[in-house]
Amino acid sequence: MTVRDRSYEVVAPPARPPRSGWTDREGFLAWAFLLPSVVYILALVGVPFFLAIAFSFSDVTTGDPSFDWAGVRNFARAFDDPVFWQSLRNTIVFTVVSMVLIVLFGKILANILLADFRGKWLVRFLVLLPWTTPVALSTIAWLWLLDSVFSPIDWVLRNVGVIDGNVYWLGRPNLAIASIIAVHVWRLVPLAAVIMLAGLIAIPKDVEEAAAVDGAGFWRRMFEITIPLTLPIIAVAALFGAILTFTDMAVVYVLTRGGPTNSTQVLASWAFFRGIEGGDIGQGAAIALFLFPLLLAAAIAILQAVRRLEVT
């Protein structure tokens, strides 16, 4: 196929010197360029992926790493466990709520960053901090902000007179859930804003200007021109926000370790606690496996939305 596919040669101007050799064979180059990445990913994502599926049907534990077929026992045990369903529900709730808020605040932030104002460089730097800081570290900063006794947020609320004692942000199920969502939103809004800013910059200036000349106000331009034109890129921002919330366990692990009494457990953290800390690798793998179809469905849905928008 390599020789036949040198379509470029056919249309080349006759003045061009004749050539041969591997540096010109597109079919060969296409493979040679792609192969290293594909091999790397197959070896270190493909193999472990199927290994993970195999583990989920086995009785492998940290104490007894020998592989014995266990059928669907790991899945049956997961389904019988109310914590699994709680984790599944939390994963979905955290992801959906965070995604909506990330897109909303990200859109606002993108529009702020698009505007010209003094000190923009500093604002941009400050706004990027939550995204560029390693998540384990920034979450530790939040752990102190939400401390049960010394929380500065509580101190402010006390001094304003809203509360008397402490809120116990991470000690009550609903507040703990809200706190985790808040941290996810806080750390991912900058990324979403940067992605959407990219979309805003790509809009041809004359479209906006023409609309402004025609007397369309800020809000009308926003909802009738800017948002429809940048919908695909808004969807991309939503996709990234969703994936990064969905797959993350560091925030839950650092803030609540799934507590109080598993009320903030997500699939990722539950798999970690069962698989690593509980030593039941088969069970952990079975739980983690549930991340994939959900993620796949969400990604396909969003990518298809993008494609449909691009066609119209």
């Binding site: 290293p36 790397y40 384990a136 530790i140 806080w186 809004v189 900058p190």
Partner: protein
């Protein structure tokens, strides 16, 4: 008639001023919301224990004189400098591997049109959706098989699986934005296909390369689960797992030192990112709008 025009002008000016005020107010709000925890962390880092652990002390002020003993502790009594060094060299090697493998792959998918290019590009993107949380259990076996467990090198081996898919995706966008004529002209001038890629296309996608370097490095520095699962000896750890291990002992948190570490890591990374933000944005536009 003049009165009406004046009225309109005044109205327009009022709107413009209102717009400016709104922009500054929102920018300030965003900056405070985003950076607040870090500003406050920076204050905490210099507090004495007697100041910090009093519920009614103002957490935003120094109620006692600031002290730098906890920052010194971070540098003198923990392996923080080692963690920083580990994160740096792992990041640089991962970036190099990512570019070495990702650039040719992106070029192949974006330019050397094969029937399988489209599906392959989507397949590579979907690899990005396979979360580390799903793979770390079985990957730890693979890592053990290579004999790299408990070594920082295991991260050099594994992190490119996270960075390559995203980078290929970003770079494809940049490559598609380079007009085909440029390569064709180079080939008419006597360069081979490979030569045209190296001599004319690579310099043009330099902004994309910068975007990938920054993005890949940030991803690497933030990664948590693999580092947690693969490496237990403290001197081999990167920042993201090393700092919590060194400064959280059971239930005892060395809060001031933790906050100092957070700020010391956050500020330089954000500064570098900010420098390259424009290029990063350009990359996303091209990748997302056309991909």
């Amino acid at each position: 008639v003049n009165g009406a025009v004046d009225e309109q002008r005044r109205e327009a000016r009022r709107r413009r001023i209102a717009g400016r005020v709104a922009v500054y107010a929102l920018a300030l709000l965003a900056a405070v919301a985003a950076a607040g925890p870090f500003v406050w962390a920076a204050i905490t880092a210099f507090k004495e224990n007697r100041d910090l652990y009093r519920r009614d002390n103002n957490p935003f002020l120094f109620n006692l004189n600031p002290t730098q003993e906890h920052v010194s502790y971070l540098f003198d009594s923990t392996e923080f400098p080692t963690f920083v060094w580990n994160t740096l060299w792992v990041g640089l090697l991962v970036v190099a591997i990512t570019l070495g493998l990702g650039l040719p792959a992106a070029y192949s998918l974006a330019r050397l049109d094969r029937p399988w290019s489209g599906p392959m590009a989507i397949a590579i993107f979907f690899v990005y959706l396979v979360p580390p949380t799903l793979l770390f259990l079985s990957l730890s076996r693979v890592v053990a098989a290579t004999g790299l467990q408990d070594s920082t090198w295991s991260l050099v081996l594994v992190y490119p699986t996270i960075t390559i898919p995203v980078s290929v995706w970003l770079l494809m966008g940049f490559l598609r934005a380079v007009p085909k004529d440029i390569e064709e002209q180079a080939m008419v001038d006597g360069y081979s296909r490979l030569g045209a890629f190296v001599r004319t296309v690579l310099p043009l996608v330099f902004p994309g390369i910068v975007a990938v370097v920054v993005f890949a490095f940030t991803l690497t520095a933030s990664e948590f689960i693999y580092a947690l699962a693969f490496i237990s000896p403290t001197p081999e750890k990167p920042i993201s797992t090393g700092v919590p291990t060194a400064l959280v002992r059971g239930d005892v948190f060395f809060w001031q030192s933790l906050q100092a570490a957070t700020v010391l890591v956050a500020v330089p990374v954000a500064l570098v990112f900010n420098l390259f933000l424009e290029r990063f944005i350009a990359g996303f536009t091209m990748g997302a709008v056309k991909g």
